[in-house]
Each structure stands twice: as structure tokens, then as C-alpha cells.
């Protein structure tokens, strides 16, 4: 059997939002960071706009509760603003921001000492309204309680995984991150991420099958 050839890594999945969608001719992150370091508020606001989706995704992957995610995302950017002068740009701004995000999230979880999973009862009024609205738009889709139950089931399955593996799976399959980005977020090698993703998937699929058999 011939040896499997190497495949060039593809870009982010079609459904995923690009990490920092830039218009042609737009200023790059390094330049914006340099300007923001010189007290340029607009430059920092532009950096927020570019990276907010990714920060929300990472925080959401760890915390899951909407209120916590919003607060932490804000805290991350405020912290980044006041630490920006110390940022020497040896790493990408996004990598630095992801590290702040992950650290803030772990800190919050340590303080709260709660499991970072959301259950049906944890859904805020707004979330419930969103689910109902999407249900009304969707028309013939499954019943709202079925969807909530399915979501809850998945959350429970994920609960059995290591926190990092869970975050990897969510970032990959829900938020559409590329393996290289996940590696950046968790400060791991891309191959390690691939291996851990492979094992995490196998674990949750086996659990589902076992439950199906019971």
C-alpha cells in the first residue's frame, strides 16, 4: 500500500468566521497594536472588532453561560488595553489575547468552583427567547423541548471529557477553529491537538453507542 502523501493544511472551514477578517488594504494587527500602544483609542476599538468573535468563542467554549462569557470577554479586552504597553509583539496579538482569555476563564471557574456546563435551568430568559424565535423561524424543525434535551444530552457527554479536550472539540466543531488556532489557544503542538481531538471524539461516540445499547 503506498504511503499516504502529506496534504497541505486547508484554511478555516467554510462555515467558520475568519480569525481576523480584514478588508483589502486594511491595516494589520501589528500596526494597530503599535498605534494603540500610543494611546490611539480608535486603533484599539478596531482590534476589539477584529477579535471579539474569537474571544467570545474561546470564552464560550470554557464557560458556556452567556452572562459569564460577556463579562469575561469585556474583562479580557480591558486587561489587554491596560497591559498593551508591555506587549512586545513577539507573538501574534491574537495568540496573546487567547492566552488572556483562557487564563481569565480558568480564574473565574476557580473562583466560582462550579462546573462550566450549562443545563436547561441555566438558560437565561434571553436564551430561551432566542431558542423560541429560532424555533418559530425554523417552522417544521424538532420541538423546542427536544432541542433543549438534545443540547443537555450533549453537554452531559462533554462533561465526561477532560476540560481541554472539551474545549478543543467545541472550538473545532462548534466555533469552526482550525487545528492551528486551537493549538495557539491552548499552547500546544498542532499534532497533539489532532491526536487529542481524535481520542475525544472516539470517547464521546463510544459513550453514545453504549447508551444506545443500554
Amino acid at each position: 500500500m503506498p504511503r499516504v502523501p502529506k496534504v497541505e493544511p486547508h484554511g478555516p472551514p467554510a462555515g467558520a468566521k475568519p480569525p481576523a477578517a480584514k478588508a483589502p488594504g486594511a491595516v494589520d494587527d501589528r500596526e494597530l497594536v503599535r498605534r494603540a500602544q500610543g494611546e490611539d483609542q480608535e486603533a484599539f476599538e478596531e482590534l476589539i472588532r477584529r477579535h471579539q468573535h474569537r474571544v467570545f468563542a474561546v470564552a464560550g467554549g470554557i464557560l458556556r453561560r452567556r452572562e459569564d462569557v460577556e463579562d469575561i470577554a469585556q474583562q479580557v479586552f480591558v486587561k489587554a488595553y491596560f497591559s498593551l504597553k508591555r506587549f512586545d509583539q513577539r507573538a501574534a496579538f491574537s495568540t496573546w489575547l487567547y492566552k488572556i482569555t483562557v487564563n481569565e476563564c480558568w480564574d473565574l471557574l476557580r473562583k466560582k468552583k462550579v462546573r462550566p456546563l450549562v443545563y436547561e435551568s441555566d438558560l437565561s430568559e434571553e436564551q430561551a427567547r432566542q431558542v423560541i424565535a429560532s424555533e418559530e423561524k425554523g417552522g417544521g424543525g424538532p420541538d423546542i423541548s427536544d432541542r433543549l434535551e438534545a443540547r443537555q444530552r450533549v453537554e452531559r457527554l462533554l462533561e465526561g471529557l477532560d476540560e481541554r479536550d472539551r474545549l478543543m472539540l467545541i472550538l473545532k466543531e462548534v466555533e469552526g477553529f482550525a487545528v492551528e488556532e486551537i493549538a495557539q489557544v491552548l499552547d500546544l503542538n498542532a499534532n497533539t491537538v489532532k491526536v487529542r481531538l481524535f481520542r475525544a471524539r472516539r470517547r464521546i461516540v463510544n459513550k453514545v453507542r453504549k447508551r444506545g445499547e443500554e
Binding site: 472551514p13 476589539i48 432541542r147 438534545a150 464521546i204
Partner: protein
């Protein structure tokens, strides 16, 4: 046989490493054949021959279908977010500058207090030095006279002294005569 097995496991490792990139390129794929559409021929061949790798691809598809139930948090961030962060930054800056003002106010106040207390001290010492001695000397009453161990007064009363003097003077006069 051993060579064949080790070659096979190396191929499986390569396949599993590369299938991740292939899967990322086909996010909508729901079946094995759909997912492998964009894969190189060698990957397809390996998937056809190796059941373990086929199972790995099926795991990807199954996990993807399961996790599709979860909402994305990336979509939560909207145009409202950047102004909210900038407002939080402005509030924090104001708070920091207020705190800094408090700390600069204290030394300034301390300097003024030093000046004021020095002037007050100077004035008070000048007044004490130049004030007229109007205070009367304390009067000694008979009750206040200290007594020795026998109960007799330490200081003889003025009247007694006068009597002694008169007695001595009369003695001296008698001797003269």
C-alpha cells in the same frame, strides 16, 4: 509480517493526522464518501482498505452531528460590544486617575500642614517669651507649711523668729549694761 504491521500503523497515523485537515475543508459533509470527496487518492485508498481509519472518519462525522446541537458563542459578539469595552476602559481610567489624585493630594496637604504648624509654633513661642509676668507668687498658708518628723513645722513661723530676735537683743542690752 511485522514489517507489514508497522508500515500499516505508520500509514494509519498519517491518515488520522491528515483527515483532520480534510474534515475541516468539508464542514457540511454528513457521510464518509462526502467527506473524502476532496481527499487525495491515497487517503481514499487507505480508508477503503483500513477499517480502523474508516471508523475514525465515522467518529468525526458522528461527533460533528452531536455537537451541532450546541449554540456558537462567537455569534454573541455584536457591534454593541466594542463601545461597551471602550466605556469600561474610560471608567477604569477615571477610577485610576481619581486614585492617583488622592495620593498626590495627601503630600500637598502635608506640606501645607507643615508650614501652618511651623508658623503657629513660632508665634506661640514668641508670645510665651514676651508675655508680662502678671502671675502672683503663690501664698503660703499656715496649713500648707511642711512639718518634720516630730510634727513641728520645718520652717519656723515669722512671729517666732521675731520673738527670738527680741529675746537676743534684750540679752545683748543687759550684757552691755
Amino acid at each position: 509480517m511485522r514489517n507489514f504491521l508497522s508500515k500499516r500503523s505508520a500509514e494509519c497515523r498519517d491518515f488520522q493526522s491528515q483527515i483532520e485537515d480534510v474534515a475541516s475543508a468539508t464542514p457540511g459533509a454528513k457521510e464518509l464518501s462526502e467527506l473524502l470527496t476532496a481527499a487525495p487518492a491515497a487517503l481514499k485508498e487507505h480508508a477503503a482498505a483500513c477499517s480502523a481509519c474508516r471508523a475514525a472518519v465515522e467518529n468525526i462525522l458522528e461527533a460533528r452531528a452531536l455537537l451541532a446541537e450546541l449554540p456558537s458563542h462567537a455569534a454573541m459578539a455584536g457591534p454593541w460590544f466594542a463601545p461597551r469595552v471602550m466605556a469600561a476602559i474610560a471608567a477604569r481610567k477615571a477610577e485610576l486617575s481619581r486614585a492617583a489624585d488622592t495620593w498626590t493630594f495627601l503630600p500637598r496637604l502635608a506640606a501645607r500642614l507643615t508650614w501652618a504648624s511651623s508658623i503657629a509654633l513660632l508665634l506661640a513661642s514668641a508670645w510665651l517669651y514676651q508675655r508680662p509676668a502678671t502671675m502672683p507668687a503663690p501664698a503660703t498658708s499656715a496649713k500648707a507649711v511642711a512639718t518634720d518628723i516630730t510634727g513641728d513645722p520645718d520652717v519656723e513661723p515669722a512671729s517666732q523668729t521675731n520673738v527670738d530676735d527680741e529675746f537676743l537683743l534684750s540679752l545683748a542690752e543687759k550684757q552691755h549694761r
